[in-house]
Assembly symmetry: none
Homo-oligomer: 134 residues x 4
């Protein structure tokens, strides 16, 4: 199992924080490894306290299902094929902000989760973090 390293995870946090600062927002940023276990986390000064759990859970959710959390959320709406999947795994987060991390060969090696602003901003910051590995 190829997995993201501690040094790579720190690079993801730094890239995400840099993006957040450029956007003028305060974020919680989490990275999980290929085993969906927490590898690195950073809360920017003044970022929402409730987003600690959400950032970590977005990262886990993205690795659990190897897709961006927003894609899962499209399927978990009332009437959707995965309705109520948020109840599983001790709680999932199914709105945007979690993205799988890939190595140069396109293999998924972990995930990043971001929470603290609008879901559009969260996704953009997570994307900036993920691109630190490309």
């Amino acid at each position: 199992m190829t997995t993201v390293t501690t040094a790579q995870a720190t690079a993801v946090l730094d890239a995400a924080q840099e993006k957040a600062e450029a956007m003028g927002i305060k974020q919680n940023i989490a990275v999980v490894d290929a085993g969906a276990n927490l590898l690195a986390f950073r809360r920017m000064d003044g970022a929402w306290l409730g987003s600690v759990d959400i950032a970590i859970t977005k990262a886990k959710t993205a690795r659990y299902f190897d897709m961006p959390t927003g894609e899962l959320g499209e399927m978990s709406q009332p009437g959707g094929s995965l309705y109520s999947i948020e109840h599983s795994n001790g709680g999932l987060v199914s709105f945007p902000g979690g993205i799988p991390l890939e190595d140069g060969d396109g293999q998924i090696i972990g995930a990043v989760g971001v929470s603290g602003s609008t879901v559009g901003n969260d996704h953009a910051v997570a994307q900036a973090g993920a691109e630190a590995l490309s």
Copy 2:
């Protein structure tokens, strides 16, 4: 990080209870500090037992995201940007009744949560509590 004091929290409870008595309703009232940790709680005689947890969680939710709980609830509906956020943080409450507490400079120093009546009444009582600090 400035935080609400014990004396201020008691003043919030007293103001909220006074408002509830004037409205003829029975409430659970909770105050959390700037770190979202419980600081003060009071259940009025005969108020709903199930609202103990809801009042505390409303206060935590309001501080977790620095907004009234009802505003969060508008975004957590099916199809909304934060659908299912209630599953995070070991359970959130996203209907009205939780309000951030601010000091004289508009800095958030904690939150108050009220539960036991209609959400409109809960919000009004929480507002009365929050105004005890202004």
Copy 3:
């Protein structure tokens, strides 16, 4: 079921806090009603954050078994008749600081729990709170 009232619970908090201030210590103080549901809580400025849960759980434990928590702890030691009872009820606290509250006829109508100092001090402060009802 006769139960402690909100006014009585506030009197218990006030008496306990006055005792704690006289002793120069910072306490978390909780009161549960006859149904073992939280009725009132107060954390003094600067008191331990980890004692929020412990004070509430001491009060619940004292009412669950209608005895001071320290007495339960004597039976829950390794080799004791109630060894590991702390695992039940989602977690109990079995060291001193929780005391049943009695009305004038000796009937148990709730309990008080105190945490934030040595167990001896916690018990003394809880005792001062309980005596507010006599």
Copy 4:
């Protein structure tokens, strides 16, 4: 309530990791703020997965009671005054490796928790992290 900043927390992680590398060990390192909420976390490559939760909980425990976790553990043994306290707060860790973080005036502003080696090594690495703020 003064709290540790994100920049300070990163400095604590860096100092702790540097110490761990000098000792030839692999660690999980967590920092919580003054409100006992997670602020920063790093797992070194190959460090124990089970220590993610332990490092975070050691940091929380140290802030919950404003003392090194090992001191709490001396009181939580069978027959000790705080026997079974680990069952409170949804689970505590009471062996060494968690240390309060202090600012230059000796005020507690958060805590660091380390897990992944012997408790002696964990404590030494946490100490190195804490000293980054002095």
